[in-house]
Amino acid sequence: MYLTVRDATKTYGSFTALDRVSIGIDQGEFVCLLGPSGCGKTTLLRLIAGLSDLDGGQILLEGAALSDLPARKRGFGIVFQSYSLFPNMTVAENIGYGLKIRGTHRSEVARRVSELLELVKLPQLADNFPGQLSGGQQQRIALARAIAVDPRVLLLDEPLSALDAKVRSELRDEIRHVQRSLGIPTLMVTHDQEEALALADKIICMNHGVVVQAGTPEHLYHRPRTRFVAEFMGISNLLTADAVRRAFPDLPARQPGGTEGNHVACIRPEQIGVTPAPDGNATVRNISFLGNLRRLEVDSAGGPLVVETHGSDACREGDRVMLRLAPDACTWVADDLARDPAEVRA
């Protein structure tokens, strides 16, 4: 691992913001810390940046401990949600600030600044002040400022959250492009699962100050380990073993180790097939047209289910339908939300 966090712990009074969290980032990897607000993801990012101090554990960069280094000596780049450009400096001065501090020659700074402005596609704004820029432009400049000093790690703290939907998706692609082309190991904090799925090589899903599950986006989406991850990563149908048997009688309901009470089945809406059939085992209750797909709410023998279909299936509300499900499309997840999260951890 290039950057390793080992057993990081942070408490605020009696509140444990992080409880022995361990994560790693590989060379050139894009890692997303995903979780609801208050789960500790921003706390972890700030610890890595050196903006607050660890109460326990270690942070290692290429095997060397970082705990003693203040933020300004870590050589990391950071982009905040709130743009945080220096309002008294021009765009060019903002981008060149880190290089200026490092005593880089003025002509070299100018060369690098124009190179970065090209990279974020805003070369015409060099002499403007941050107040004259739109939110999306400011965030691009903040990105350029962070990567100007060739950071050893790039840290992004919800960089897209303050932006409009359209600007957000543009900048999302841009961040991915820049990160790929420069190969900077990057850690991004977000609460938006779509953003994490689109950007990350690896997602670390957090809740209540602990890592719940880490893995590739595909892995977390299709093979969540707990109910929390399943619900956080998009829409899912969560059914008890009994309900699965009733809704899909053909399916050999396999489940781990017979611990039926602690597990539920997670079935993604797009994995359920629907065909109109007068003798079907379910009824369509409601249909939402979402453009590229249709979302059906159906009443099955196992309870209500959400199903998503592409194409123009001629189902109407009130129709009887037949539901189908491939045997391996059903994932058994630990039902961590039904109980105290501390117990699940143990």
């Binding site: 057993d7 712990t9 022995r20 940046a49 050196g50 903006l51 101090d53 660890l54 109460d55 326990g56 554990g57 270690q58 705990s67 003693d68 203040p70 933020a71 300004r72 000596k73 870590r74 050589g75 990391f76 780049g77 950071i78 905040f80 709130s82 945080s84 220096f86 309002p87 008294n88 400096m89 600030y97 880190g98 501090i101 490092r102 403007n128 002040f129 941050p130 107040g131 004259q132 903040a142 400022r145 962070a146 000093v149 840290l155």
Partner: protein, 560 residues
């Protein structure tokens, strides 16, 4: 357990240059606060307990047994109460007129209302004497004799002096009211008088309360007006002066000082609470109220506001006018001869005051800047008590602080004695006298600075010094300018804190004015006052110009 071990090693960080710098930033101003505020206050308290054979309450029982003390206390409280009621009432009229009514010429009202702040407090008293005194313009024109020395004269002078504060504080509360609230009330059918009773008054409640306590404190701690126009009407501030300067009885002066401290501390504590309550009521993203013209209301309010302003202009203006009159009231021809001041060291004290004010303003602004900068980086539990200490000097009357200084620095017990009789010490007392206002102004600036800016600079490699110069200082520059000029202007006109610290060789402007007036050279006192007002006006205009320039530059940076 290995985990417990790593926890310990991780928590302990090597000392780093920035941490040292942070402690230096906090430490130096804190040392100043301890040496030049806390320590003298402890000394004055100890001296109030000092009797011939050690410590005891004998001084207190002696003071409490004297009729003179109780008379002065009663006078102070009565004067404080009456002045407060009057200035809050008049202040509300003007503030309401400025913020809730529509009439032309508001800039004039705004300009006139700050005039009393630009002069030493005794200028109001001087003006009243020229207007209503035995040889005053009004008295002679009407051919009546008015006894202006005493309660009524002092009441008017104090009211004029407290009025600007009342207008500013109540105005600040009225500005916070959201226009949409009034639109909602209008749509629901509330009449203007109902809106006033149900919306304006309750919302301004804390502003009014706050203004009342500020006016009360200003009045009972003021010395200049009481010294010039109080006559036989003794108040606590003049009582301290006569104990110390008249009878050289420092311990008794200390006792009276402690007694004067009690009401001001209580008043200040309540005022701070009121201010907190008011701030929490503030909504974000509010729409400003824009009054539309209502003939009856606005004509009446404009007339009242202009009338009050006319009073202020008359009192201040007559001082300027009288300074040019050859021989008041017998030869009203104009001449500059009173500006040829030879007594009391001539103009040397004016130049000295300017030097002292620049020192106080420069050193003071730097000190509160460092303190604010350092406090941001301290953990909350360390920063909180320091903030409380930094906000404390406002509760101490100038007379008491001055007395504390003379007791502390005119004693050879410590090397601090070296400061006694120097201009530096006067600059220092002026700064600590107004420390709270300067500190709080700058803290509002610091609160607007997003922490992410400093963090971004930090992760780009900037240390505390660089961040302070490149990021923080430019951001709060307008506040720094305000604090600088505030300290300068206050230092130019303050009397109560410095009256004990001046020596025959080293005097300041306000003390010179008092001495000239004492010597019967009222016209020369007026001339000297006019010079001081000119300097302060110039300072105020420079401040306005600097701030306007800054905001224009900022605007040009914020618009494409």
């Amino acid at each position: 357990m290995s985990f417990a071990k790593t926890a310990v090693t991780a928590a302990r960080r090597r000392p780093d240059a920035d941490r040292l710098l942070t402690w230096l930033c906090v430490g130096l101003p804190l040392l100043g606060l301890v040496l030049f505020f806390l320590y003298p206050m402890v000394i004055v308290f100890l001296r109030s307990l000092t009797v011939e054979d050690g410590y005891g309450l004998a001084n207190y029982s002696q003071v409490l047994a004297s009729a003179g003390f109780w008379r002065a206390t009663w006078h102070s409280l009565l004067m404080g109460g009456t002045t407060t009621a009057l200035s809050v009432f008049l202040g509300f009229i003007i503030a309401h007129g400025l913020h809730r009514c529509a009439f032309p010429g508001k800039w004039l009202v705004r300009g006139v209302i700050v005039l009393p702040l630009l002069a030493p407090s005794l200028v109001q008293a001087l003006g009243l004497i020229f207007l209503l005194g035995r040889n005053g313009v009004v008295s002679r024109a009407l051919g009546i004799e008015i006894e202006i020395y005493g309660f009524w004269g002092l009441l008017i002078a104090n009211t004029l002096y407290a009025l600007p504060q009342a207008v500013m504080i109540i105005g600040a509360a009225l500005v916070l009211l959201d226009a949409r609230t009034y639109e909602a009330a209008e749509v629901m059918g509330a009449s203007p008088s109902r809106q006033f009773r149900d919306l304006t008054l309750p919302a301004a409640r804390f502003g009014i309360l706050n203004a009342a306590f500020v006016c009360f404190t200003i009045t009972i701690t003021d010395f200049g007006n009481a010294a010039v126009i109080g006559g036989d009407y003794s108040v606590l501030a003049t009582e301290i002066y006569s104990q110390v300067v008249g009878q050289r009885n420092f311990n008794m002066g200390a006792v009276v000082g402690i007694m004067l401290l009690l009401p001001t501390v209580v008043s200040y504590a309540i005022e701070r609470q009121a201010m907190k309550r008011q701030q929490t009521g503030q909504a974000t993203g509010q729409v400003r109220y824009r009054p539309s013209f209502a003939p009856l209301r606005d004509t009446v309010m404009a007339a009242l506001a202009l009338l009050i302003c006319a009073g202020i202009v008359a009192v201040i203006g007559i001082v300027v006018y009288a300074s040019f009159v050859t021989l008041w009231p017998y030869n009203m021809a104009l001449s500059p001869k009173h500006y040829d001041i030879t007594l009391a060291g001539g103009y040397s004290s004016l130049w000295m005051t300017i030097v002292i004010s620049v020192m106080a303003a420069t050193g003071g602004t730097l000190a509160v800047f460092l303190l604010g900068l350092g406090l941001r980086r301290l953990p909350r539990r360390a920063a909180q008590p320091i903030q409380v200490l930094a906000a404390m000097p406002a509760a101490v009357p100038g007379m008491v602080l001055g007395l504390a200084y003379i007791l502390t620095f005119n004693s050879t017990a410590t090397p601090l004695y070296l400061l006694y009789g120097t201009a530096a010490l006067i600059a220092i007392i002026n700064f600590y006298h107004y420390h709270t206002q300067g500190f709080l102004t700058l803290m509002t600036g610091f609160r607007q600075l997003p922490p992410a800016l400093e963090e971004a600079a930090g992760s780009l490699g900037a240390g505390l010094g660089r961040t302070a110069v490149d990021i923080v200082a430019p951001f709060i520059a307008p506040m720094l300018v305000s604090v600088f000029f505030f300290l300068f202007m206050r230092s130019m006109v303050t009397l109560s804190a410095v009256v004990f610290l001046t020596t025959p060789d080293l005097s300041v402007a306000a003390v010179t004015i008092m001495r000239l007036d004492d010597a019967g050279l009222t016209s020369q006192a007026a001339a000297f006052s006019t010079c001081v007002m000119a300097v302060v006006c110039l300072a105020l205009l420079s401040m306005k110009a600097t701030l306007a320039l800054m905001s224009r530059r900022k605007r040009s940076k914020d618009t494409a």
